[in-house]
Amino acid sequence: MEDYFSFTKRLFDPSTIKEKPEVFKGIKVLDFSHVIFGPIAARLLAQYGAEVFKIELPFVGDLWRFGVYWGKFWKHSSVCFHFVQYNKHFLSVNLNSPKGKELIYKLAEQADVVVENFAAGTAEAWGVGYSQLSKINPKIIYLSCATYGQYGPLRFFPGWDLLAQAASGAISLTGYPGTDKYYKLPDYLGDYFPGNVGALALVMALYHRKKTGRGQYIDLAQSEALMRILPNFTYFSITNEELERVGNTDPTMAPSGIFKSRDGKFVALAVATEEQFKALSSAMGQKKLVTEYKDGFERLKPENARELYKIAQEWVSKKDSAEIVNLAKEHGFPVAEVMDDFQIANDEWRRERGSVVVFKDDMYREFVLPGPSAMLSKTPGRIKWLARPLGYHNRYVLKTFFGLSEEEIKKLERERVIGYWDDRPGIKPPVYYDMDKDAVFNYQGNGGDKAHE
């Protein structure tokens, strides 16, 4: 029989992704959301084949178009925005004008999914809430994302990822105990994780609709999504003690921690089972530890865990990290070197696997961005185009989707129902790019053919 790893290599080969089917082909998503929490849920559907129409206010645009690290724009765009918005259609329509609203309602008639993440009730006030759109299209799946959800006394409280981290108690776990050091979870994890939960809810709702034909409303509170992953509450309800900050170790495994090796690198090491404890003990040449700490629960008691932490720390500090990784492979206990941004972006394994993708874009040229951590063999996700300047797909969508003529589109432009970018980085195209020659932006066809695919 064929070697397993050559079989899987064929099965998942990243170069064949383009030829494979897309699971959400034909699904249309109306995306009113902004920044990260809502957009990432819509983007996950776009990654797997849905057609997503991202609606932005003309001449203003999504706030996250300006969300750049340390003020650094890349080719007049935000790299973070590219990651959250790829494969979407960028439609810039003024929801405040009756004509703009009419366009949106027409889109809603045919949409399968709607995503929004304004403060609770705002979408309703603007006439694009569930109570309004479900009348136009009863089969619609409508996802509302908010920090505290759509009902309850805190519903009108505004929020960002950070506030959800505070309100859910996620912050209270990360830091050094007995000091004033607390760390937040970095990189807006409080948006990305709940956003992925939102995508899960949408996929489940789509599955449900396929079986029953019914749409529904989804209320997702990012604080609740974060609470779902915290052991604090159950721990408190059983032991009557707060689970405090745990330091640079995992209190569920002993020994465990991030240690410094002889060659100055950082190595994470953990022991989750008896088997792994035996493996580590024999790798360390201290087999007697196995008889000293017999039971898993016993080992985890704070005084024992501290003792084992010291032993592990001492051992790691006398070895190079490569040696430790080799011993872990050989004996079988969890070890990983701490990887930083640069190492991850350039990691050969990730590039081969497809979890770091080198992508050639028509407008932004070469760019490197992450692929998924879960690879699907038959219907893999893919990147088709990066984020685009504000209003880039106006003409294309109005012609192919609404069947409007050039004159009608020009009229909408004059009335400022639809609009484009101004001179600010983040919403405008890169300087070297000639917009006049762009076939999608100046879409000449009359529908039918899809210039983009």
Binding site: F5, L11, G169, Y217, M227, Y235, T249, T252, I344, S373
Partner: protein, 442 residues
């Protein structure tokens, strides 16, 4: 605008919609009597000493699938992975928390007999989750290659540190998985911790308190699995899903890859500061710690107003004055803000921010600034908060064998087919008879 006209406008904007909105929101507050999405879907969870698999299985179970946890007779070692060894009847807290709507079958895949039963079960299953070393089930003759022959509709989810393909996956196939190594390998640990100039070990890479490596991997596995089920519903075809926990964080948030590529170096650790937004972090109050987010210029101005710091507005007016790339500068601003926040209790600060926001939303002169302040809360406070009680965020159980405990549940509210927790049970082999009769009788 006159008072009457203003009222009329409000009515136009909120009038009828509000009543209907109340109706459908009220309808969402309970899952009772509502259908379940995955009713009739069978999920086998053969994960071993790996919570990514257990978590993915929980998510399927909450959406209504029949989830069968397969363990050797001595039980999955995951039962003993728990903070400080805390347990109830030998069941650790994370295992208890994830024991949602599950069935338990003892089946030893290490024996020939066990594998035959496993094959029979897999022939009737829709989803299979396993976390053995890559290729292990294949050598046993119960891998994706073999099982998909008899059951082409099977969705096979494999979770390992480095995946099922590539040379590295092969080389590292015997390396077991853990949460902390997933955090380290996927770029999370490198971005938490104090700046380089701080004393050791505070300037080391740092582990996030929660199990982010495992929860992200579990969520992504379930998300991939759900998509595969949608595809199966349309075509009848299953597929294999390969989850690498060493990708968890970088693939979820993107930043490590995006910045590593465009900046061509690694970010230094910034301690309590954020890379993009400022102010966006924690400050001490009179009685605790508050999180403050006021990064946009108008939010920042509003924050200065409520903290009576308007005199420093000129120095820090624009986003670009507050970029966190010059640490001394941003520490100075941090100090200026803390000197004020320390004068008030957390509740006072929250109220001040809210009052200002309400005023500012109604006044064009205040520019719509919304400074947001929230108390950093402890679990015991959170569980008492009426907001979460009304939303049924926490579910209490009083079990004969497990005693009284609470779990966070109902984290997605859906009007037609919400996920829910129907029962919690953990006994090894509890459903042996039920499962053998239902799936292994022939």
């Amino acid at each position: 605008m006159s008072k009457g006209k203003e009222k009329e406008q409000v009515l136009v904007r909120y009038g009828t919609a509000r009543r209907e909105r109340q109706k459908f929101l009220a309808d969402m507050m309970s899952s009772e009597g509502k259908p379940e999405v995955l009713d009739g879907v069978v999920v086998l969870d053969a994960s071993y000493a790996n919570f990514s698999g257990i978590i993915a299985a929980s998510l399927f179970a909450e959406f209504g699938a029949e989830v069968i946890k397969i363990e050797p007779p001595e039980g999955d070692p995951s039962r003993k992975i728990t903070p400080y060894g805390a347990n109830v009847n030998d069941v650790g807290i994370p295992f208890l928390m994830e024991a949602r709507n599950k069935r338990y079958l003892t089946l030893d895949v290490r024996t020939e007999e066990g594998r035959r039963d496993f094959e029979k079960l897999a022939a009737k299953a829709d989803v299979l989750i396993e976390t053995f070393p890559a290729g292990q089930t294949d050598t046993w003759g119960i891998g994706y290659r073999q099982l998909s022959q008899t059951n082409p509709g099977l969705v096979y989810i494999a979770i390992t540190p480095y995946g099922q393909y590539t040379d590295k996956a092969k080389e590292f196939r015997n390396l077991p998985d853990s949460d902390i190594t997933s955090q380290a390998a996927s770029g999370l640990a490198a971005n938490i911790g104090d700046p380089e100039t701080s004393p050791e070990p505070y300037n080391w890479p740092f582990k996030a308190g929660a199990w982010l490596g495992w929860y992200i991997s579990g969520l992504e596995a379930a998300l991939g699995g759900a998509m595969a089920l949608v595809y199966k519903e349309a075509t009848g075809e299953g597929q294999m899903i390969d989850v690498a926990t060493a990708d968890a964080y970088a693939s979820l948030v993107g930043y490590p890859v995006l910045i590593g590529y465009t900046w061509e170096k690694a970010r230094p650790r910034l301690g309590r500061h954020d890379f993009t937004l400022y102010p966006y972090g924690f400050w001490k109050s009179k009685d605790g710690i508050v999180a403050i987010a006021a990064p946009r210029d108008h939010d920042f101005r509003a924050l200065l107003k409520i903290l009576k710091l308007w005199k420093i507005e000129d120095d820090w007016r624009f986003t670009f004055d507050r970029i966190t790339d010059i640490l001394e500068q941003i520490e100075k601003l941090y100090g200026l803000i803390e000197a004020e926040t320390i004068k008030y209790t957390s509740d006072e600060l929250i109220r001040k921010a809210l009052e200002y926001s309400i005023k500012s939303a109604r006044s064009k002169w205040r520019g719509g600034g919304v400074p947001i302040i929230m108390k950093v809360q402890k679990p015991s406070d959170i569980m008492k908060n009426p907001h979460w009680t009304i939303r049924k965020t926490f579910q209490e159980f009083d079990d004969k064998r497990l005693g009284k405990f609470t779990i966070p549940a109902n984290f997605i509210k859906m009007s037609d087919s919400p996920p829910r927790v129907k029962w919690i049970s953990c006994d090894i082999g509890k459903d042996n008879d039920y499962i053998r009769k239902k799936y292994l009788a022939d």
